[in-house]
Symmetry: D2
């Protein structure tokens, strides 16, 4: 989870939010970007492919694929429906993974985030439901199903807990154990309250914190690790600034609807540049809420459910032929 209070006004971890912002602003599809939308079984799957430099520049995101699942009902879903989500997730993951690894190649799954902060603990929590198999294949291969591929996992913690950049730990481990693929799981911040714990983004571009100079050493991607990096992210907090801003927008919309047209106030409201406003709110609020986060009350239970869905998506995708009944024999 990046520092959720330092978002610039166009900063979002989700490609579909970047696209939304661009489209709102420019009233047209982003050039150099291909988009495909599918709706099945109560999910909306959006595949954004940033294909050209111009798209990359406008979106503020690297070239590559961004697949987003929006599942508004995931929080009330029964187990069976949650398994369907895992199955769909696995399908998309396999499409991405299949040309990157073969059956004997090792995958390293990285559970990013701080296990002491519930909504940031998504990564470590996913690991606890993951089929970790590399050591079994090495030491007791005869007891392992044939479809199982070597998967290992690490939860590196965060800078504040370890004193070490997370990327340094990952690089050290990658250099020693030489996996062919890294999959990093992380909690994200969202710009919209309704996305909280309902949206899953899978991308083959890895994790690139900010686009500024000097941050490159913190990135987890093909350039820095030398192997493909897939990132799976779920928005689990909204920052307080976003909440404040959304409220004001709702208020303004209500006031504009009521204000007598032609009057000074109407014009003033209409002219308020919403991005400037967000910057203003940021400045005003930061001293007060710099350390606050907005989460659902039942955040612990939600994180439990969602981490199982993501872990099972990975389990099915990484071990083709294994089904969810088999998974229990390998987990823990």
């Amino acid at each position: 989870m990046k520092d959720i209070n330092k978002f610039s006004n166009v900063r979002t971890d989700l490609a579909i939010e970047s696209r939304e912002m661009v489209r709102e602003d420019q009233k047209r599809e982003v050039p150099g970007v291909e988009v495909d939308v599918e709706e099945i079984k109560g999910m909306k799957i959006t595949r954004v492919n940033i294909k050209e430099e111009i798209g990359q520049k406008i979106m503020g995101k690297p070239l590559g694929n961004y697949i987003t699942f929006e599942i508004p009902k995931i929080r009330e879903m029964e187990k069976q429906a949650q398994e369907e989500v895992a199955q769909e997730m696995a399908k998309e993951l396999r499409d991405i993974v299949q040309d990157k690894i073969t059956k004997d190649d090792t995958t390293l799954v990285v559970g990013l985030g701080n296990w002491n902060i519930t909504p940031d603990a998504l990564g470590p929590k996913v690991l606890s439901h993951l089929m970790v198999t590399r050591h079994l294949l090495e030491h007791i291969p005869d007891f392992v199903d044939e479809e199982v591929t070597p998967v290992c996992a690490i939860a590196p913690g965060v800078l504040g807990l370890t004193g070490i950049e997370t990327s340094e730990i990952i690089r050290g481990v990658v250099e020693r154990i030489k996996p062919k693929l890294v999959i990093a799981v992380d909690a994200l911040a969202s710009r919209r309250m309704e996305r909280l714990n309902t949206t899953i983004q899978i991308t083959d571009t890895g994790i690139s914190p900010g686009s500024g100079v000097g941050n490159e050493r913190k990135a987890l991607n093909q350039e820095t690790l030398g192997i493909p990096v897939i990132a799976i992210g779920i928005p689990t907090v909204v920052d307080a600034t976003t909440l404040a801003n959304d409220t004001i927008d709702l208020m303004l919309d209500a006031m504009i609807a009521q204000a007598p047209k032609g009057k000074e106030f109407y014009n003033m409201l209409k002219d308020i540049n919403r991005e400037e406003k967000l910057q203003l709110i940021n400045e005003i609020l930061h001293p007060y809420v710099g350390n606050l986060m907005v989460t659902p009350k039942e955040v612990d239970l939600i994180m439990d459910d969602i981490s199982v869905v993501v872990a099972n998506g990975l389990n099915i995708a990484l071990h083709p032929g294994i089904d969810l009944e088999d998974v229990n024999r390998y987990v823990n």
Copy 2:
């Protein structure tokens, strides 16, 4: 923790906030209310005594004493400074308690709240640091220090977990074990972000949820339990509506400061009734944030620290002569 999103616009659990609101509105001290303020060792102690019916009516709170500790630095305090807070808290508690129980009278400490929701778990967490002694005095009195008085404790859970009104559980237990005093510890919601985990309120009026009809059976006070009830409360969440409202106020203040005087907009802004506004925000936001809460990121650690402070305030107050070094021998 009451449902933090159903607060009416003047609803607050803290007497000092009620008083503030009245004074802001009416520009004078609340009639029928005595107030005393003391500042020591980085704490501000405000003693509000609602003495007359008129005060009760205006404040929306029962006759009685409300002692509030404001300790802005409690979150960064070293252990020793936190012990000073516990000592001061114990002094005020003893003043309230001393004419209610004698050395052999049993006190029942009630830890209210939902242990599954971190910021609501204050009550149960305090119990885990409390000197529970009633059974020791009954079964092995010779091994107990002379100053120790009989204290027992219960964490009744919340309606959603038990299917039983908390007050019913407490009444059942009180009727069977017949304590002479109940002390209830609860997490509160605050109207101000800066109060989060920095304010402690002690009152001898018990807990009276709402003032509406029919709620009386949920109250924990002298009327319903037949014995004195002291309540200790700490604001541990801000509801999302409050956050939104505070932001808008900060925005309006900034805009008023900039608006050219005499103009329509200035007048409009000046005329906005802030209580009406809060109601409007409530209506607009409820569908979106009904289930959200705003907490500090390190809420787990903060709750740990604060529950030790409150427990030790109780330990020192209830067992005069016991010091904090002795406490360890009795806890757990």
Copy 3:
């Protein structure tokens, strides 16, 4: 969980173990006791009915039914197989429950044990997966399925945490909310290592700690509560004395097998009275291991699994017509 180190040499919470001991000693079925054994789906179900006084006296257990599930594989079971166990458990529970409550009668489920000691936390953990419905039927009956009956729940803690006898808390609550049935869930100690977390006992005799004088006030049964009490127990710890004793028995068996017949030593070994030996071990070991417990290494994970099985057994039994897919909508 009773104090596991104070067991007398014939003390066990499980009726099938009492029966075993009697049969080993007397080489015949216990008089006044009816026994029925069934094996299905990898479970062994033993129904012991203590029908006459003589059986009660010999077994050291009250008249009534004791149904025991032995499920050696429960720890490796897949979710689906665990659901089958819950279904079978529900069948037996319904047989017991059906003449005790009608659809509108309230059941109080009591989760006994200390939530701070993992293997003793079975009761509280079961509650967290239980359909608690009494408040829903009272406040929002239209949103509740028709088959749902009023269930409420309480985890009263243990004497060391509350300073109050658990039975006093339960009586207080029962007197106020007047349920028609109490179901108490508790962790037990076993005399055999292989029973750890693999055996479930259901009895309609409630909980009667010891048979000594003065303990009656601690009992939870028809006599003390005035309503039927069903107890569900699972052995989750072996005490250190049991482990030591079982080892010595295994050793003796090995030595007897090897000792040249006719020799003094063989006779000596053969003559060792195993109950005397247990008493001797108790005396020798108590100072060293009084505070130790023996658990599986992965005790946390096992308790999670088993508490779901027990909770679902209750959910299905108490709400006829509700299936496991529906349960998720009510839990939490």
Copy 4:
């Protein structure tokens, strides 16, 4: 924590236990080994220095220093007394550390063990109370006290959770961040019940699991990491075999005391080779208890206390001039 059930009959992680066994067997001090014993403030400090090859061979442990604190009362200690233990531990640590690092050299503290198994979680728990400072000195040096040295920390998990040998993770991290010293904290198994959570061993020889072939890659020591490795270990479990064996020894002692001298049985008992017996017990018990562990009932609370003591020992030793009051400002 090594697999506690595969201990050979002379295997122990504690140098004082190796020495004890040798002395019991050979009735003399171990050659090539220097021993110094000090008793202060309720602690017994034993400094074993294995100086010559012959000592190494007999003890089954590498050349180097092994300092053991035996603190029988640590479990009942008040906070202040626990701080005294931390201070004494820090003194010994500083003696070892001082010629290995200078003020600007980075120390990497490794918290070994499985965070899901309470008695094995010592290492990860110690980290949560450790002053982690490396990132502060790098990013905000002006806000850091002058005495603070760069410390970073990692909890690598265990093979079963990660699929990666712990030593591989540590090597990867060491190669990237190039610390000058590694301090590894680990839970140990003990051969004696009375050592549980009362003994702390500090050694400058690192961690060398077993002495067999092929294990060298799992070792954490100067040879494998290229920098000095200090290991801090505390016995937190007794394996079930040890418990069984100790019981039988106690039994035999009692029987020998009673057996009429000169008889066959007496001779037989006297002749039982206790090491052979342990091997026999191992064989007999393994199928039954291979997965069991013996711990104190209040193991969670004990681990909390002890991990604070160890962490503070490290905090004081690594940042000379920092006192415990300062520590709070840096932890978490």
